[in-house]
Amino acid sequence: MHDTLTALRLEARWALADSLAMARRNLIRYVRSPELLVFSTINPVMFVLLFTYVFGGAIDVGPVNYIDFLLPGILVQTVVFGAVQTGVGLAEDLSSGMVDRYRSLPMTRSAVMAGRILADTVRNVFVVLLMIGVGYAIGFRFNASPAAIIAVPIVLVIFGQAFSWISAAIGVTVRETETAQVAGFVWIFPLTFMSSMFVPVHTMPGWLEAFASVNPITVTVDLLRGLSQGGEIMPSLWQTAAWTVGLVAFFSAVAITQYRRLS
């Protein structure tokens, strides 16, 4: 009994050490491939500028400023689009033979995936803070308690992680960089637009509104609007929590099972 516990504790320590080593490797890759960083920051900056200045005047969101309405949506879009990179990176390691080397080492098997998701989470923290800064420059303001403001990046990072697991499951299944890119994006694009990200859902046709209201993107965007503007956070808080837990549980199981079945 005691031995089993010691062995388990040792295994958990190695799992953590291996995941950190892999996360460090992936972060070094991000820093040294600026095209990736540029892609993951230029895109959301462009979206926030285009929507604010091109569509902003035409979209009626009630008594709030459009930028205060828009930015929480852009932040969610940033982490969700960024998650595609998790699967693309995994597929790249699979097709280049890196994963063969890792699998022949005595390292914890799940660390290849956990390390990548950890690195993508760290990247998300940076990109989210950057986007909040850009928002501030063009008129976005928090109007909430410090606790609620601090909760904003935390919610984003956790929610982004859930989408990283979906992306990981795709990457480890298709195992090919370009396919992972396409398969990762093709459904995310409509999913983000069929939500409250850019427009209030009550302006949509009934059938679409019904879909948009339960969309995990909508509930998370609504939660962030509540948190950043001092508004209502129920029921979107528990809806976001339920979606996040459900997505992580299901897709991490799929991704890890697929990884173990590699041969």
Partner: protein, 331 residues
């Protein structure tokens, strides 16, 4: 302290570092390995020789726990590939066909990462990385991204990565494929050096020259089956003597030359892929040379070269399989 290995050990002073018993693996309808058995004595280089599609890579993937076998068992460094995979992985090194180095990391970072993943502590991983960079002549390039390395440097870095944990058994899957002759010779020297330090090496290759040059023993595989095993010398004796070869000046006369040569032997005379070289195994070849030259002259065949040579592994492969090693497997 390690327990005594439970696997069968060959008689003699040297225990087996790799034991394969009745190993089979199929991909759908393609039988990649068909009842393969193999012993590799500790501290030796064993060559696994065969054309593309012979099953070499499949066997390496099974021995490195990347792929489960359909049936059969195998032990590497005394550990069962199926049941003791984790212990096994900490005692082996793998260098594959694709040079699995991370292009965005420097040579040093690549080796230190692998060291950490072998669960060496930080200072040991750093020390090993520095030693290996020195040994593989990569010290100057150590802090450059491996993206900037030449093909030969990448292979050396890949091989260095497989040695980080000082493995008992090293598995090299076509380590020199795609390298120029100079880089190939450099890598050969490194591999020889390793074995003199006590490491056991299983090396797959399609190059007969490479197996001949490096391996203490050679297993010839074709279509998933072992078709011969022995030292390079033993395998060459399978061709029963020497090989006579005649090169004709005019391809039109190759058939005539074949007819003349065949009269002097016991069969197996053939025209090579180049269309001008006729070869045939002969016993006591030198004595027959004069008679053959006379007969060729009488038949009006103009020859540009003629000679008797010791058989190459190419001849051996041909004698064993009926086709040359260079020919790809037709599916």
């Amino acid at each position: 302290m390690r327990e005594a290995p439970e696997h069968p050990v060959t008689a003699g002073a040297r225990p087996s570092a790799i034991v394969v018993r009745g190993m089979s693996k199929a991909y759908g309808k393609v039988q990649a390995l068909d009842d393969v058995s193999l012993n590799v004595a500790a501290g030796t280089i064993h060559g696994l020789l065969g054309p593309n599609g012979a099953g070499k890579t499949t066997l390496v993937r099974i021995l490195t726990t990347l792929l489960p076998p359909d049936s059969g068992r195998a032990w590497v460094a005394g550990f069962d590939v199926a049941r003791e995979a984790t212990q096994l992985r900490s005692r082996i090194g793998l260098a594959g066909q694709g040079a699995a180095v991370d292009e965005y990391l420097t040579g040093r970072e690549n080796l230190e990462l692998v060291g950490r993943l072998y669960h060496l502590n930080r200072s040991t991983a750093e020390r090993r990385a520095a030693e290996l960079l020195e040994r593989f002549d990569l010290t100057e390039a150590a802090d450059r991204r491996s993206k900037t390395y030449s093909g030969g440097m990448r292979r050396r870095l890949d091989l260095a990565a497989s040695l980080v944990a000082d493995p008992e058994v090293l598995l090299l899957d076509e380590p020199t494929t795609g390298l120029d002759p100079r880089a190939r010779r450099e890598l050969w020297a490194v591999i020889r050096q390793l074995v003199s330090d006590g490491t056991t090496v299983l090396l797959t290759t399609q190059y007969l020259e490479e197996a001949d040059e490096l391996a203490d023993r050679i297993t010839v595989v074709d279509l998933g089956r072992v078709i011969a095993e022995g030292t390079a010398q033993e395998l060459k004796q399978r061709t029963h003597g020497d090989v006579l070869s005649v090169v004709v000046g005019d391809p039109e006369q190759a058939d005539a030359a074949l007819g003349v040569v065949a009269r002097h032997g016991s069969g197996d005379a053939r025209i090579g892929d180049d269309g001008v070289t006729v070869t045939m195994p002969v016993a006591g070849g030198a004595a027959k040379l004069a008679a053959i030259i006379r007969d060729l002259d009488a038949a009006g065949v103009a020859i540009s070269d003629i000679g008797v040579r010791r058989p190459s592994l190419d001849d051996v492969f041909l004698a064993l399989t009926g086709h040359t090693a260079g020919a790809d497997r037709a599916d």
